[in-house]
């Protein structure tokens, strides 16, 4: 099974990606889809600028995908990560895992997100609604803890 792995600046459509996975198959029992969105609760954010390391981002996502495929018997896997300017409400990352049983699909999707968060070379910078350039988003300690638990 060859996973679908893409890094792109253009928006993506989770429904279209899920349809590519289903595509008339009768052997899939469970599909877990994760969508990460650009959040702006305080109306202070104009956009996020996602910088990435071209080449390494692709290589690292391929490594993380291979690790997931070695751990769980997945029937299909899609990972899409955007870079560039992303507006509040827009989607940043998509992971879809399909498996016979739900436990495998849930575990793989959550593992992939934990690993992407801490290993994929992307960095978020805030552009504020008042026109100023804000800070680089700080990493969260709980993201490291989330990734760590898969090593136990």
């Amino acid at each position: 099974m060859t996973p679908t792995l893409r890094i792109q600046s253009a928006p993506f459509d989770p429904a279209q990606e899920a349809a590519r996975i289903e595509n008339g198959r009768r052997d899939i029992g469970a599909i877990v889809s994760f969508t990460g969105l650009c959040r702006d609760e305080d109306a202070t954010l104009a956009a996020l600028e996602l910088e990435h390391y071209p080449g390494m981002a692709e290589a690292e996502i391929a490594r993380v995908a291979a690790e997931a495929l070695s751990r769980w018997p997945l029937q299909a896997l899609t990972i899409i990560h955007r870079h560039g300017r992303i507006l509040p409400g827009e989607k940043i990352v998509l992971v879809i895992a399909a498996a016979r049983h739900r436990g495998e699909a849930f575990a793989a999707a959550e593992f992939l997100m934990d690993y992407l968060k801490t290993r994929a070379p992307f960095w978020k910078k805030e552009h504020r609604a008042d026109g100023s350039v804000g800070d680089w988003v700080a990493p969260k300690a709980k993201d490291d803890a989330a990734a760590q638990r898969w090593r136990e």
Binding site: G36, L50, E51, H52, Y53, G55, M56, A59, E60, R63, H81, I92, V93, M113, L116, K117, T118, R119, A120, P121, F122, W123, K124, K125, W136, V137, A138, P139, D143
Partner: protein, 83 residues
């Protein structure tokens, strides 16, 4: 060896990439950081808290004790915040 800088490491140093020719006694990622740090104020600021700096050799994560011998490309960046 080609060096790449990302996010606030890039901003503090003031450039995205450059060619580096460290002296032969610089053997590891950590030693390369220590050597770069002495170059000017930008590098000093970028690497002031060396422990948080992540590195990659030829597009794969590398630890600070990893040897740089044979590396064609080495990158320095803050902890990742994608996803």
């Amino acid at each position: 060896m080609k060096a790449l800088y990302f996010a606030w490491v890039r901003e503090r140093i003031g450039r995205a990439e450059e060619e580096l020719s460290p002296p032969p006694e610089v053997g590891t990622v950590g030693e390369l950081i220590a050597w770069l740090k002495t170059r000017d104020e930008g590098y000093a600021l970028a690497f002031e808290n060396a422990a948080v700096i992540r590195a990659a050799i030829d597009k794969a994560h590398a630890r600070h004790d990893t040897a740089i011998a044979g590396a064609r490309e080495i990158a320095f960046f803050p902890p990742m915040t994608g996803g």
